[in-house]
Symmetry: C2
Subunit: 355 residues, 2 copies
Amino acid sequence: MKIAVLPGDGIGTEIVAEAVKVLNVLELPLELEEAVVGGAAYEAKGHPLPDSTLQLAKDADAVLFGAVGDWKYDKLERALRPEQAILGLRKHLGLFANLRPALCYEQLTHASSLKPELVAGLDILIIRELTGDIYFGQPRGRRTAVDGHFPGAEEAFDTMRYSRPEIERIAHVAFQAARRRSKKVTSVDKANVLETFQFWKDIVTEVHAQYPDVELEHMYVDNAAMQLVKAPKKFDVVVTGNMFGDILSDEAAMLTGSIGMLPSASLDANNKGLYEPSHGSAPDIAGKGVANPLATILSAAMMLRYTLAQPEAADRIESAVRAVLAAGLRTPDIYSDGTRKVGTREMGDAVVAAI
Amino acid sequence: MKIAVLPGDGIGTEIVAEAVKVLNVLELPLELEEAVVGGAAYEAKGHPLPDSTLQLAKDADAVLFGAVGDWKYDKLERALRPEQAILGLRKHLGLFANLRPALCYEQLTHASSLKPELVAGLDILIIRELTGDIYFGQPRGRRTAVDGHFPGAEEAFDTMRYSRPEIERIAHVAFQAARRRSKKVTSVDKANVLETFQFWKDIVTEVHAQYPDVELEHMYVDNAAMQLVKAPKKFDVVVTGNMFGDILSDEAAMLTGSIGMLPSASLDANNKGLYEPSHGSAPDIAGKGVANPLATILSAAMMLRYTLAQPEAADRIESAVRAVLAAGLRTPDIYSDGTRKVGTREMGDAVVAAI
Ligand SMILES: CC(C)[C@H](C(=O)O)[C@@H](O)C(=O)O
Ligand SMILES: CC(C)[C@H](C(=O)O)[C@@H](O)C(=O)O
């Protein structure tokens, strides 16, 4: 089984190195091959997603991704900015289903902004559609307005869109995931304003007919943003479009108070996937050896579970992570009184030891 | 000064009645005229925003609005649903600047989901552009996809757009508001993905050159959704587009834990405005006399301040609201041990008495 390892920028290199260490200790027949991506790839090869990197990702069975981005690339033209690498990978690999668990670890409940009773035991799975919506819709650009409030003025525009099969397939992913969990799906839309999301709501409702054992609730995106703050534990599986999913999955992640712990999977139609931590490249702490590698290590576990069909190996990693937390080891982002502060490498080593 | 009073649906009638009582006691030369809107207007006249209601709103100096909507209208065709009234009023009155304060009252800090130290003294002003963006962009609808992932499939689409003057005028509103506050504006965009919001960011930056005394920071919408949870007090004035503003203003409102306390103003280019509570029509508690009228009463205060140039009268209302809170009166939504539970009317009467 071949894994493309794309560390990227900022803390990417450090955290991916720990996940690789963990994968290596499992003694599975994995072949890991590394390539540059993001700002690092722009520096080395003039493009954030060089052909060779994309080809490696295509050839591999799964992709382990760190993070991309740095303020220093802000002035580059958009096509060359680091985040184009992640958008390009999603598009070219057809990774339409983004699974973002928002899980509150028992030992880290206090780290949340929310009162402990509201988040203790929190376990939401946000399923974000990842290759459609306004992220990729054409046409887009700048032009002279022909109508609207200021005809004749310069304007910029984008196109939001979803086709029936795009909505159907992500709805199936959500209902199937709900079957393995507590059988409840919240579909988030803005059907009261957007044609795209009236269509979304209609089709999710249609697909639901095939899952009579799963409960379906519809919620407007503004209300979802509120209910996540008010009573996050009322959610189980949340399914939504690319744009709303971007916002809500980050909001939900932050509710846990430990975004340094949250993995993610982006899957194609055959369960091939790209796995990455939910957090970003954190250029401010890059190279200091203080980043939390656990989200990346847990992303490797998700990879073993979803794409590589090695659930026992995934379990071993996840148990090891729980064990190091129970032992009181903490990187600075999750540190609190009475625990032991460790760096990136020490945390990775501890997980390896626990395995 | 003529005020159009549009109570609407659900708790709208009850809460607006209390705000009207408060306005009447001020003994200002106000002429109040009531009209139906939303579901109530659909029932009475077959349309959520009848011509006569729109005309009254246009002729008036300001509009005091309750709330619209009820589950029972969900099956109506979109053009006849209650929320079309509010979209229609925004559009036809040119109410492009929505001011949504997220304020945490000292006595209600405990009601927040967040830990008290994170929200005590919270005072954010979210400025949402209200007549542009994907809410009103054309074209929109359903069609057969000609490209994308599934050419030939049925798809739905909407158009996101902003023109230069639309962005300029809302940016001015934000910078001017910041001058009256702590001189910091956070402009929220998604410039890394959307052409519309790269344009937004560019133009806000341009307009900022006229306000060298105000600090401007740019933030991606997903990050803003996180930072609001993590450290809401870092924000002062937040300015963003219609769609992102819909989501973030509701998230911010819920952070305070007392959405029943939050007013809002929607202003046109001449400071004419529509004033309404930030919460909805709450059909589940309608007619029970338990709704919190304070957000609507405070909306009337905003109306006096922004549109009717009666700042002393606005002050009197706001002080009276603080006084009733200090006296321990609470509607059920903000009730806690040791305070006195009152209904909608009793709360309104208490504000009148305090004035
Ligand atoms: C970097 C950016 C393009 C990306 C997105 O908006 O999808 C990021 O926010 C994410 O959620 O992975
Ligand atoms: C009812 C709906 C159309 C409206 C909106 O999305 O603007 C509401 O959510 C609001 O924020 O006033």
